[in-house]
Amino acid sequence: MLPRRRVVLLAACAAIPQAIAIPPAIATPAQVSLLIQELVGDAPLKDGLIHLDLPVMVENGNSVSMTVSVADPPSPVEAIHVFAEGNPLPRVAVFHFGPRSGAPRVATRMRLATSQTVIAIAKLRDGTCWRDSVDLLVTLAACIE
């Protein structure tokens, strides 16, 4: 016969899985790289040209200022895609630029669910793709509350 405290311990272990709340599913870096591969296709993907501006230390993940820009592109920028590897959904935004755009630069505010890597991809009309990423630390996460 098992000692009483062992029985209690076993019972406690059995109860643990129910006690742990199911965390919200988050995107994975693999998912993001698949999305990027889908977007880029066979075109070469190089680092540089595009600049993603985000704070490295984020106090409040509910509203984080983000600026993406492409400096002196050799051909017009068609679109800039932004991905967050640690958010429940990896996509953040897609910006498509038209002929009346003064410069390929957009600023907005985004949500971050956890400390993670944010990636920006610029697609130029000549078919080349450029990449920039920022690793950041988030103190207060968004999306949970």
Partner: protein
């Protein structure tokens, strides 16, 4: 539901010189991930697309996802040859489209 939109266009604009336009839309951008007190998921309600044109010519189209913060703020660059009207159109998850305009005066 119409929402409040603030648009900022600079007063002094020169022809063919880029200028920044700032837009602030008051919208909760409910991400569809949060739960209420009963544990039920609060349904997603975000602005999913935004587009801006100057006299019918495209400036910028944006596809938005729940990772855009509540009360979306946007700042982007526009270039004008002559005075005209900026038209901004956005659609939310209920399919409601709202259009706002701002005039651009080239001096």
């Amino acid at each position: 539901m119409t929402v409040r939109v603030l648009i900022n266009v600079p007063k002094l604009i020169r022809a063919n010189q880029p200028f920044d336009v700032k837009v602030l839309i008051s919208h909760p951008m409910e991400p569809g991930q949060r739960r209420d007190q009963m544990g039920k998921i609060i349904p997603r309600d975000i602005i999913n697309s935004f587009s801006c044109a100057l006299d019918g010519e495209k400036v910028l189209d944006i596809e938005m996802f729940p990772a855009i913060a509540a009360n979306p703020f946007l700042s982007f660059s526009v270039v004008a040859e002559k005075s005209g009207t900026l038209t901004m159109t956005f659609t939310d998850d209920d399919g409601v489209t709202q259009t706002e305009t701002a005039s651009v005066t080239v001096t």
